[in-house]
């Protein structure tokens, strides 16, 4: 297949970045703006923004062919052999923009305790940097993502300036929770959103399509194509449908020399550069390192520690919902406007972090009911009125502690469309995480019962699932025997190889990870620039 695009290597590149998601795109924009020659290689396609309304239709209407973001079963093949099945291909998007194309765009700073969890509670490990190290980068990341937020969160870490855009006001649905939250002693506050509450030079204000996850047709929700556009505007080259097959290194094993990538016409190419950044997500980043094994690195590139792929973490969803005897005004928008971080910091080692959410999209929409109903006319309308309109729900993200046995490894028994072993996601839950899911359910039940909700469903420790935040598989640390990258996100083994993204997280907290990904990426970009 030939779309006319030039996918041959650039003759001179200062930096080669693998992956055009939020980490890679942010670094590309920073380094390109600073005048460096940047090439970005991504395995997936470049989606045309003009198609987004059609993609929304695919989401809204069952029976329409195709996935919203064109998952390719051969390209994206994987295994899941752990205690719990992991649905990898609904958890990620391959393409220019990466998984921000389908994300929920909730952007919170991690807490100070997140960076010193072992010191504070005895659980897991400390990060090799602290909140103060990231604090200025968090502020920059909020600017870069045009975050809409308010400084009304009494549990948030200290900040120096307001969010770039005002927060979205609370919903009518939020107001229904207010008295119950007060009665049970639960303090709530606004939600920082990476979607425009007001128009900016980059994007319009949110117009309320209500389909944020999996697709925002208006572009009001941040996705990494904004930074790709910025990078290209200053001269960066972004090559789509160019999956990197392996990284090559010099004879001494000190430096990466080239990224070998495939193109749709069946060719393979080598992109040389002075610095390399792998930012392919918490699954594909360790997979690429493992695929790049050599005589010098028989267990995988940058894997002298043996922990590449280890400590895979996700956030667990805990939820509860039901109906009230009154209208609750759900489904007008596809994002949340109220949360509680009251139970975020851990008192000791009895539980992990909990982030509580109040959903604005509980229950089905009228279309969801109509298109699958077995009645028509007035009977159908009665069914819709009965099914829509009185739902409420609370969700929560729960922290999963890093465990060595949870990992991404290669499955030699299956190969992808280029003959490479597919990733095998080995994933299960520990008792502390299960207890914390139960604790989240207890809080949710207290609130909903106080409201008089007829509770209809619970997602607890037995039926919980991942929130699709892939973390921990190339962890950061100062000890080369125990970690893959240093606090600059440079690998201990190879001097010109940076790994960016949530794969470097030491622990995962319970905050949606992308703001921290962006902050770390801005920091990494500074360090790469210092070396160029």
């Amino acid at each position: 297949m030939n779309d006319g695009a030039d996918r041959t290597p650039s003759p001179r590149a200062d930096v080669c970045i693998v992956g055009a998601g939020p980490a890679g795109a942010t670094i590309a924009a920073e380094l390109s703006a600073a005048g460096y020659g940047v090439v970005v290689l991504d395995a997936g396609p470049r989606f045309d923004p003009v198609d987004r309304v059609e993609q929304m239709e695919r989401h809204l209407r069952p029976g329409v062919d195709g996935t919203v973001w064109d998952t390719d079963p051969e390209r994206d093949a994987y295994s899941s052999s752990g205690e719990r099945y992991y649905p990898l291909n609904v958890a990620r998007v391959k393409g220019i923009g990466g998984s921000t194309l389908h994300w929920q765009a909730m952007v919170m700073r991690m807490h100070e305790q997140d960076f010193e969890l072992a010191s504070a509670t005895g659980m897991a490990d400390d990060w090799p940097l602290d909140y103060e190290d990231l604090r200025p980068y968090y502020a920059d990341a909020e600017e870069e993502l045009s975050v809409s937020g308010a400084s009304d969160n009494p549990f948030a870490p200290p900040r120096d300036q307001p969010h770039p855009l005002p927060a979205f006001p609370p919903s009518y649905s939020d107001s229904l929770f207010a008295d119950a939250c007060e009665a049970v002693g639960l303090t709530t506050h606004s939600v920082p959103n990476a979607r425009n509450s007001e128009s900016t030079n980059e994007a319009s204000a949110c117009v309320g399509y209500g389909t944020c996850n999996p697709v925002c047709p208006s572009g009001a929700k941040y996705d990494a194509t904004r930074h790709i556009d910025a990078a290209e505007a200053t001269g960066a080259r972004v090559v789509d449908r160019a999956p990197v097959q392996r990284l090559e290194h010099d004879a001494a094993g000190d430096r990466v020399t080239a990224a070998v990538y495939a193109t749709p016409d069946g060719s393979k190419h080598r992109q040389a550069a002075r610095e390399f950044v792998v930012a392919a997500g918490g699954v594909e980043t360790p997979r690429l390192l493992l695929l790049s094994r050599s005589e010098r690195y028989p267990n995988g590139l940058a894997n002298s520690s043996g922990v590449v792929g280890r400590y895979f973490m996700d956030h667990l969803f805990a939820g509860m919902g039901g109906t009230l005897d009154e209208p609750t005004r759900q489904k007008h928008v596809g994002f949340n406007t109220t949360e509680s971080h009251q139970f975020y910091d851990r008192p000791d080692d009895s539980r992990t972090a909990i982030k509580l959410e109040f959903l604005n999209y509980a229950g089905p929409a009228p279309t969801d009911i109509a298109l699958t109903a077995d009645s028509f006319g007035d009977d159908l309308l009665a069914e819709i009125r009965d099914g829509y309109g009185q739902h409420v729900a609370m969700g929560a993200l729960v922290e999963q502690l890093p465990r060595k046995e949870n990992r991404i490894r290669l499955d030699p028994s299956r190969t992808d469309d280029h003959g490479n072993p597919v990733p095998d996601v080995v994933w299960g839950l520990d008792d502390t995480t299960r207890r914390t899911v139960e604790r989240a359910n207890e809080i949710q039940r207290a609130v909903l019962e106080q409201m008089g909700v007829d509770i209809g469903w619970t997602v607890g420790p037995d039926n919980t699932g991942p929130a699709y935040h892939h973390m921990g598989t190339t962890r950061m640390g100062t000890d080369p025997a125990e970690s893959v990258v240093d606090p600059q996100l440079r690998t201990h083994d190879l001097a010109n190889l940076t790994l960016a993204g949530s794969s470097v997280f030491v622990t995962g907290g319970a905050m949606n990870p992308t703001l921290t990904i962006a902050a770390l990426s801005l920091k990494a970009a500074d360090h790469v620039a210092e070396r160029l």
Partner: protein, 188 residues
């Protein structure tokens, strides 16, 4: 509740016709009737969806839509005109599904579907099992009728502000209705 042309355009927007994402609502094009190579409904002259197919779609809508809505004919014609414009596969599927309905109605009710009484039209959908099958564009006769006619019409109605408002949702998913309504309580 009166369905308007604006509702049809809003539904077209949710159906991915006339992508103007990021613009103010409604996001569908309003020029379906102004095409020099089409008729007043924006249908190209060679489209398999002609007056008979439109009449049949309206006849189906009168069965599957609630009695509380009016303006169904204009709504369906405007929506369908935009929907088939430039989408030959969809237009062909609609025409085939209409033919399926007509064959069934002629055999069991003595005439084409749109000419039968409302009761007969409802019964025909019931007897064909259109109410219980999954929509499938390449499926059985009933599945194709469900996909191309019934679900298309239901999608149009319940992604429009007026249609979803029947259930108390004036800004349904797929409709860029702004960020005010989610903050407002229900009408007293």
């Amino acid at each position: 509740m009166e369905l308007s042309r604006r509702d049809a355009l809003a539904a077209l927007s949710a159906a991915g016709v006339g992508s103007l994402a990021g613009c103010a609502a409604p996001a569908a094009t309003d020029d379906a009737g102004d095409r020099p190579d089409g008729d007043e409904m924006g249908r190209p002259g060679s489209s398999p969806v002609g007056d008979h197919e439109l009449e049949t779609l309206v006849a189906v809508a009168e069965v599957v839509y609630p009695s509380a809505v009016s303006g169904v004919g204009d709504f369906v014609r405007t929506y369908t005109g935009g929907r088939v414009d430039g989408d030959d596969d969809y237009a062909g599927g609609v025409a085939e599904a209409v033919a399926i309905l007509d064959d069934y109605a002629t055999e069991f009710y003595g005439g084409e579907y749109a000419t039968r009484s409302r009761e007969d039209r409802a019964e025909a959908l019931d007897y064909m099992s259109v109410d219980v099958v999954n929509p499938e564009p390449d499926g059985t006769d009933a599945q194709r009728v469900r996909h191309y006619l019934v679900n298309e019409l239901l999608y149009a109605l319940y992604t429009s502000p007026t249609g979803a408002s029947l259930a108390g949702l004036e800004n349904p998913p797929g409709h860029p209705g702004g960020t005010e309504s989610y903050q407002e309580g229900p009408e007293e």
